[in-house]
């Protein structure tokens, strides 16, 4: 029997073919037979039709754009429609301050602030799905950020995809000649679309990480970075003038900087992937001291775990933990170790029992 994925793929083939020029009565009969063959086929097809029909409402969003210009994703997201989505208020746009790079942008702005979009923007405030804060800075790209405990995917107009870890912020500026990402704080994973004509540059403090088409993550702590590469290769550059040349880091490589020093470790890919388990909401510990484990978990939670005893801090833990579920983590410690737990409102204090 076909898997659901295969059935859906087949339904999509039928659906796309049906609207093509060569579609014949024989084809129609064949489609009917395919549909009649199983309820699963019928459901797959009706689900596609429903999604396709839902897309008619894209017209509402298209209202502001000039005909003949398909908007880039940044334009699209920069519309007031999304402005208030997650609490971060964008400053009122000052037309003179905005750098105009595309002919269709003025028209877009003018019309998107019309009644329909004011209504939509007001509605957007209430949306429960709002977790990805962003803010359009008209001088230097679009800012995306996540609150504590949340990860979010950010698709870029060039086809690249960024995943933001907890409490992180990036500024995205995609131009004709360069794709520039500023990692303002925290950690992000980049799945970079191949485009040799436009290097993909991540700036984290005074370090630069340069890629063409590859997958890697950058975590920033002040000016120090940890770069994990899972596919392809990147070049890590330190500030110029200090005599340290750029260093190439390939798949399986983990580069760490401390001040002006940079160390690269080669590790098997599965191990490297574990460093990126946050993308699925987990943190992984291998014989990690409780002090380090707690520091990691505290990145994901507003309610902080506090260790009040050096003996407790030296406890060694292993395992996969859901990053935002500190209650179960603390519960396991309570059950398995000589740890006393004091649960306060803002923090959880662990001491020796």
């Amino acid at each position: 029997m076909d898997s659901p994925g295969q059935i859906k793929d087949a339904a999509a083939r039928w659906f796309a073919r049906r609207g093509s020029e060569g579609w014949s009565p024989q084809d129609e009969a064949e489609l009917s037979r395919w549909l009649a063959a199983s309820t699963g086929n019928q459901i797959a097809y009706l689900r596609l039709e429903a999604a396709w029909q839902a897309a008619d409402r894209l017209k509402v969003l298209g209202a502001g754009f000039e005909r003949g210009a398909v908007p880039g994703l940044e334009d699209f997201r920069a519309s007031p429609f999304f402005k208030h989505v997650a609490g971060k208020q964008a400053p009122a746009p000052e037309p003179a301050a905005k750098a105009e790079t595309g002919a269709h942008r003025p028209a877009a702005r003018a019309v998107l602030s019309g009644p329909v979009f004011r209504w939509a923007a007001a509605a957007a405030v209430l949306l429960p799905v709002a977790f990805l804060a962003w803010n359009h800075d008209y001088r230097a790209g679009t800012v995306y950020s996540t609150p504590i405990g949340v990860t979010a995917a950010v698709p870029l107009s060039d086809g690249s995809k960024v995943t933001l870890n907890t409490d992180s912020e990036i500024r995205v500026d995609v131009t004709e000649t360069e794709r520039r990402i500023n990692l303002e704080q925290g950690e992000a994973f980049f799945d970079v679309a191949k485009d040799p004509s436009r290097p993909f540059v991540v700036k984290a403090g005074n370090k630069r990480i340069i890629a063409v088409g590859t997958q890697f993550s950058v975590r920033r702590d002040e000016d120090d970075v940890r770069v994990v590469v899972t596919e392809g290769a990147v070049r890590v550059e330190q500030p110029s003038g200090d005599g340290v040349p750029g260093t190439k880091v390939s798949a399986g490589g983990v580069a760490r900087t401390r001040h002006a020093k940079l160390a690269v470790q080669e590790r098997p890919l599965p191990e490297v992937e574990e460093l990126l388990s946050w993308r699925t909401g987990y943190v992984v510990f291998h014989e990690t001291s409780l002090a380090d484990a707690v520091a990691e978990l505290n990145r994901y939670n507003v309610r902080q775990i506090v260790l009040q005893d050096p003996v407790v801090a030296d406890i060694v833990v292993s395992g996969n933990f859901r990053a935002t579920n500190i209650d179960s983590f603390v519960g396991l410690l309570e059950d398995g170790f000589a740890v006393a737990v004091n649960r306060e409102n803002e923090r959880i204090v662990l001491s020796r029992r």
């Binding site: 999509a12 020029e21 009706l46 999604a51 396709w52 897309a55 994703l73 429960p128 995943t163």
Partner: protein, 194 residues
């Protein structure tokens, strides 16, 4: 196929897909089987609704999913000590999950926009030209300098990714639910130019 049944299914069942996937992912240990469970749940609900529409569609959907899982456990299709909690307690879980009430028009537009934004740029372009500018496939082929077949392929991939993102939320906010089919289609998209 009965048109009113189809509309009912879209309106009352498909809108809960995200909640259903989350529910299945919590209860079922093997992530690889989630899509399969969702698909089978739909088939059962659809076939049952063809005879008589349930009074509470959402409740019926989750109850069906629960029975399906219980059947699979009983038939030994999985042997696992990881089964998350016993199935009896899942009654509670279904109600605890944030209730995704019927979407109002605004939420729905937001959802659509998010889904659209998650498509690869080549698919997005073609879909935009069809839906917003109302161009025919022929006009799109001429405009983008593509063969009719290439336009068709982009529609195929676009609508496939759109349905997963729009109904299931795949490839968007929750990487845990990202399906391999979506990823594969996305990767294919990078090689399609003509």
């Amino acid at each position: 196929m009965d048109e009113s049944l189809k509309q009912w299914f879209i309106r009352e069942i498909l809108v809960h897909e995200r909640a259903l996937l989350r529910f299945l992912a919590r209860a079922w240990p093997d992530r690889a089987e989630i899509d399969d469970l969702c698909h089978d749940t739909y088939i059962r609900v659809y076939e049952s609704a063809a005879k008589a529409l349930p009074v509470s569609p959402r409740g019926f959907l989750f109850a069906t999913a629960r029975h399906l899982m219980a059947d699979r456990v009983r038939r030994g299709r999985i042997v696992s000590i990881e089964m998350r909690g016993d199935l009896g307690s899942l009654n509670v879980v279904a109600d605890v999950i944030s209730p995704e009430q019927r979407l109002d028009a605004r939420q729905d537009l937001w959802r659509l926009t998010q889904a659209f934004a998650s498509l690869p740029v080549t698919c997005r372009e073609v879909m935009w030209l069809i839906k917003v500018e109302e161009l025919t496939r022929k006009e799109i082929a001429a405009r983008l300098n593509l063969t009719p077949k290439a336009v068709e392929k982009r529609i195929e991939r676009g609508v496939r990714l759109l349905e997963e993102a729009y109904f299931g939320g795949k490839g968007m906010d929750d990487p845990r639910l990202e399906g391999s089919a979506v990823e594969n289609a996305r990767k294919e998209g990078e090689h399609d130019h003509g």
